[in-house]
Symmetry: C2
Amino acid sequence: MATIKVPQVVPSPAEDADALLKAFQGWGTDEQAVIAVLAQRDAAQRKLIRLAYEQNYNEGLIQRLQSELSGDFERAVYHWMLDPVERQAVMANAATKRIHEDYPVIVEIACANSPSELLAVKQAYHGLYRRSLEEDVAARATGNLRSLLLALVSTYRYDGDEVDDALAQSEAKIIRESVADGATRHGELIRIVGTRSRAQLRATFSWFRDEHSTSITKALPRGADPTGYSHALRSAVRCMADADKYFVKVLRNAMHKSGTDEESLTRVIVMHAEKDLKGIKDKFKKRASVALEQAIARDTSGDYKSFLMALVGSGMI
Amino acid sequence: MATIKVPQVVPSPAEDADALLKAFQGWGTDEQAVIAVLAQRDAAQRKLIRLAYEQNYNEGLIQRLQSELSGDFERAVYHWMLDPVERQAVMANAATKRIHEDYPVIVEIACANSPSELLAVKQAYHGLYRRSLEEDVAARATGNLRSLLLALVSTYRYDGDEVDDALAQSEAKIIRESVADGATRHGELIRIVGTRSRAQLRATFSWFRDEHSTSITKALPRGADPTGYSHALRSAVRCMADADKYFVKVLRNAMHKSGTDEESLTRVIVMHAEKDLKGIKDKFKKRASVALEQAIARDTSGDYKSFLMALVGSGMI
């Protein structure tokens, strides 16, 4: 469920566009007015506002926002204004350019979406970049990281609930052997995580836990791995097993004592605010013993804070 | 272009169903009557005949055909009666079960189809088998053959005509280095063949030919390879470069002096008769200096021969 709060009576796109123009004019920008409009409109409404603005004032709304706003706030609003599917294609493309740091973006897009949602992102990618996400991932990652990410973004997974229990049992054993082997023989592990359906993987992970009294993520190798492969593998396993729980972990890591990771924080909030952030928020509260709004309020400031608060539906804007 | 000859005035599905029932009744089956109906109807018409037959006579038409016919003829008619997309899913599934012999079926489905056609086959596969083609390929192939086939069936390739010439040049060089290295370091080669668009691959192959005065297929390693990987790689390269030419080669090999490979012959004719067999036929005549009809007439006999002749549009049925 979404967390954004769309008012019951919504102004027309032309009225919203006018409110934005007013916010841009005069001394400085009225950021609160920008947030009051854009954070409380869904994707279809934002698109209409963009069109109305561009038609009435003869300039691109996104470009104007980029010139009026700055810093983390600007980047968050920029991503928020993109169409949700195109946004993921844009983020995936940016991630392929720094793939050994930004692989979590690829893992999330490949593993948190349904197979048909992932397909839509790949189709948008073709349209925007005249290339496939697969070829960009394959060309820029190396070694096990490449094998893993390529399988994750390529496979059109089966999306049904059917589970083959004997297969789950035998593949839990294969995973155990791969893990015992260290990072040297991960082909089978990558094959399983990269191609099996979400339901089948959950059954396999569950067998593993029953047999070995520990979760796969705990059993997977940790430690120094400059390629990011080990971390990407753990992220993929977590994201396939329970995407909400995975995102709670990303949010908690992003708001850690050692400093705030605004990029990850923005990404999770913007990508999920009108999709499934409600569930993530509920789980966050249970795990962190503090509400997501409180954590965000503590770790951020200014317009960036106001904007995120509006997206998580706190009402405090 | 298709080669089957659908009459200008087509009987109603009920009339065709009736003609088939009559062909099944009495002493022996009237195979020529079966061919006269089924080989001269397109996929949509065959589907309606199936429905009319099942509704009017309370038995499955395909099952009845399987019990009335036999041998290569029966297998050809069985595949011909399936919906073209489902047929490919059925053939791909059968091929995954004998993947070290039947990998050419997988290569053809992955490389001769457009990206959206391949996607449709994968969607049909989900529906029929409650699994993905990817997971079955990955679970049953091994080593380089697995890496290659998995990339071929997984990637949702870009389908446009844009070509990056600098990239084609640099990847032609990478291929050269991979080939020089023997079969030991084929990761980059598999990445390129497995993820780049058809247009991009053609440009890369063309650079390779210009630089090295030989085609990639000639430069690729040959010889004993029990996994089938080397042959699968050459097939994929050929099929991406020029699918018609590739199928001409498959047909010529299938009708070789040393004996007829009915399985391959049937597959190519049945899968392409109502799609692009006309182009394959024209190229066959140029390369083999004999018409495809003549080659088939020489290598086959009986009802199987009559059926194939009708599918290639020879009129001699």
